[in-house]
């Protein structure tokens, strides 16, 4: 009998045109516990670098989170920065300051190490670096818990010894942020002004929404606001 096979093209497409290779865009996040995602309900989805990656970057971008909880700049210099340099990313975000303040690192040592770190991660002129300055800490429940006569209902003080008074902390943060501005300027990095952004939100009465149950790390909403700040800073960077 004559062969009478029906058309067998269902479900098997004819060839699909290949995509043109797109320019590489690797984003690496360098930082501490906030960068790692602590405080967010679902760090894999809601940590601020992940949110920033999703909202600010095109789909072709890939992303590595090297954040280490508890890391200072000195720690990141010997670990995260070396890995970052090897990866040669096109975009790097850096948020390393709070742990240095908590550890009592002097601003000169901080600035020296930050300089080295930024030079390491800025692998070439095409690397975009966004560096966050220090947000205000004196409004955090965990800070207030460490002051004499903590307010009722405050979480336990997590830090050794007692904290300096708010005005002292404020001045310390200001010197750190000046150091960050100088270090950023030396390598052409952009500063993400978390200090101003957080102050504005706290003054609008949104402070409670921004901090997680431990009184220290950003909440999911807090991570979103940090990502927003980075997104706005990134939008202001000329794209090469």
């Amino acid at each position: 009998m004559a062969t009478g096979c029906s058309d067998d093209d269902q479900g098997m497409p004819s060839s699909i045109p290949a995509t043109k290779p797109l320019p590489r865009l690797l984003y690496v996040a360098v930082g501490a516990s906030e960068t790692f995602g602590l405080g967010a309900t679902d760090p894999l989805r809601e940590s601020w670098p992940q949110v920033f990656y999703r909202k600010a970057l095109p789909r072709r971008a890939s992303f590595v989170n090297l954040g280490i909880p508890g890391a200072t700049v000195a720690d990141a210099l010997t670990k995260e920065a070396l890995y970052t340099a090897r990866l040669e990313p096109e975009l790097v975000t850096v948020w390393l300051n709070v742990n240095d303040i908590l550890s009592g690192v002097g601003v000169e040592a901080y600035e020296r190490d930050l300089d080295k770190l930024l030079k390491l991660v800025t692998t070439d002129d095409a690397t975009t670096v966004l560096i966050a300055n220090t947000p205000p800490l004196e409004w955090l429940p965990s800070y207030r818990a460490c002051l004499p006569n903590p307010p009722a209902g405050a979480p336990d003080c997590e830090f050794k010894g007692t904290w300096p008074r708010p005005k002292v902390v404020d001045r310390l943060i200001a010197t750190y942020n000046s150091a960050i501005d100088r270090a950023a300027a030396r390598v052409g990095a952009s500063v993400v002004d978390l200090h101003a952004a957080t102050l504005a939100l706290v003054r609008r009465g949104r402070g409670a929404d921004l901090v997680s149950g431990d009184g220290f790390h950003p909440s999911t909403e807090g991570h979103r606001e940090v990502a927003r700040a980075f997104t706005e800073a990134f939008a202001g960077v000329p794209q090469g």
């Binding site: 004559a2 029906s6 269902q10 479900g11 098997m12 790692f36 679902d42 989170n65």
Partner: protein, 438 residues
């Protein structure tokens, strides 16, 4: 008598006894319809069954594993592989150069973490919000060489790092309706191969995250894994994980450049030979050759039986033509006598009756073949609705011109053969006797 006159006379006789002609025509049409429908259905069933066995890929495909062959498994369709053995471009080239090999497609798999984006269908049901699975990457430039069937959407574009296809297992994991695979198309899925960073303290593994869009839902047998992507994507993932420092035990990394190969032989009868040659090169293979051969044998039997049933029906219908024409010869004796008296030869009379029989056969064949195709299509619709509910790929019952043509020609020929006896009887009728008897 010219052929044209004979045809006109035959046609006139058909129209003159319209009732009898219609009944005869209906009998032939129904029989041709039955035959055509049965043949179409059996042919489609054979094609679809074999396609399912081949999982959407070519029938003569062989899977090569990155493992040495197990001598005790050589005759098995799904041979258990022996010890791991690196499989790379050199081995692929050696296999590609075998005389009976049409194509070789490398496959690379990579274990990854997957996070459906918030708002993606079913993402909210996933607790925790991520899962581990294996991404299967292959060269998708010619998907017909791979055992992959598209259930909805399409395959990722070759070379793409931002497109993936998921399998029904993904739908099941997110508790989505398997009968509506298209609902997941367009959703975003973040995926990343893990890598050990020994110096980073908290959480030893870090992923190279990539956002992708789900562009298709597929069934695939290229390699174990729930997500299908391009080989470029899994190669990059493989390199990322391979650059780990420290203990990579949990990552289950393999040193083999390729996880496997999909090899297509020149034909079903070459599979055994090619498998032996690949075994000689030193790799384990699997292919459903024994299963396909058995299934083909049984399907051939089914086709023979169904064709015989249809043919018997057609023969019976053609006997009806013979009966009708015999009656016509008796009724038209005077007419036959007159024809001969005015100069028609025996063969002219033979010709007229043969044409009459052939006309009925041809017309019945055309109507019957078309009706058979329509009947088979209705069966196809019913079968497809069942298959869709089961979450399986549907069948495609397109027009098979060969079968339709055979139905028409077969009916015509059988009708002509059936009409031969009455035609001969009419042709041999002496003219004087025919005229006097009337």
């Amino acid at each position: 008598m010219s052929p044209r006159d004979a045809f006109a006379l035959a046609l006139k006789e058909v129209m003159r006894r319209l009732g009898r002609s219609v009944l005869t025509l209906m009998a032939v049409s129904l029989a041709a319809c039955l035959l055509t429908a049965l043949v179409l259905i059996s042919r489609t069933a054979e094609t679809e069954v074999l396609r399912q066995l081949a999982k959407g890929g070519p029938l003569a495909s062989i899977k090569v594993a990155a493992a040495a062959p197990d001598p005790s498994q050589l005759a098995n369709d799904n041979a258990r592989p022996g010890s791991p053995r690196d499989l790379g471009p050199e081995a692929a080239r050696a296999i590609g150069e075998l005389p009976d090999v049409t194509s070789v497609v490398p496959v690379i798999t990579s274990r990854m973490i997957f996070v459906p984006s918030t708002g993606a269908p079913g993402a909210g049901r996933l607790q925790p919000s991520y899962f581990f699975d294996t991404a299967v990457g292959a060269d998708l430039r010619d998907p017909s060489l791979l055992p992959i069937s598209v259930l909805a959407g399409r395959l990722p574009a070759p070379g793409s790092l931002t497109e993936v296809a998921v399998t029904p297992g993904y739908l099941e994991r997110l508790r989505l309706d398997p009968t509506q695979p298209e609902k997941v198309l367009g959703a975003e899925l973040e995926m990343g191969p893990p890598r050990v960073f020994n110096d980073l303290e908290e959480q030893t593994f870090r992923a190279l995250w990539q956002r992708t869009e789900i562009v298709g839902v597929v069934a695939q047998e290229a390699a174990p894994g729930g997500i299908v992507t391009t080989i470029e994507h899994t190669r990059r993932a493989q390199r990322w994980s391979a650059a780990s420092d420290g203990d990579t035990g949990e990552l289950e990394l393999s040193n083999s450049p390729y996880t496997g190969l999909v090899v297509v032989a020149d034909g079903l009868d070459r599979i055994g030979k090619v498998r032996r040659q690949i075994t000689d090169i030193g790799y384990s293979t699997s292919a459903p050759e024994n299963l396909i051969a058995s299934v083909q044998r049984y399907l051939n039997v089914v086709e023979i039986v169904l064709t015989a049933i249809g043919s018997i029906a057609l023969v019976i219908a053609c006997l009806g033509i013979a009966n009708a024409l015999l009656a016509a010869v008796r009724e038209r004796r005077r007419e036959i006598g007159v024809l001969k008296a005015i100069g028609a030869r025996d063969r002219d009379v033979l010709f007229v009756f043969l044409i009459e029989a052939s006309l009925l056969g041809a017309l019945g064949g055309v109507l019957g073949s078309l009706g058979g195709w329509a009947a088979a299509s209705v069966v196809g619709i019913v079968v497809n609705s069942y298959l869709t509910v089961q979450g399986l790929l549907g069948v495609h019952l397109g027009p098979s011109w060969g079968v339709l043509l055979l139905g028409v020609l077969g009916s015509t020929l059988l009708a002509s053969v059936a009409g031969a006896v009455p035609a001969l009887k009419a042709a041999r009728l002496p003219a004087r006797e025919a005229v006097n008897e009337s």
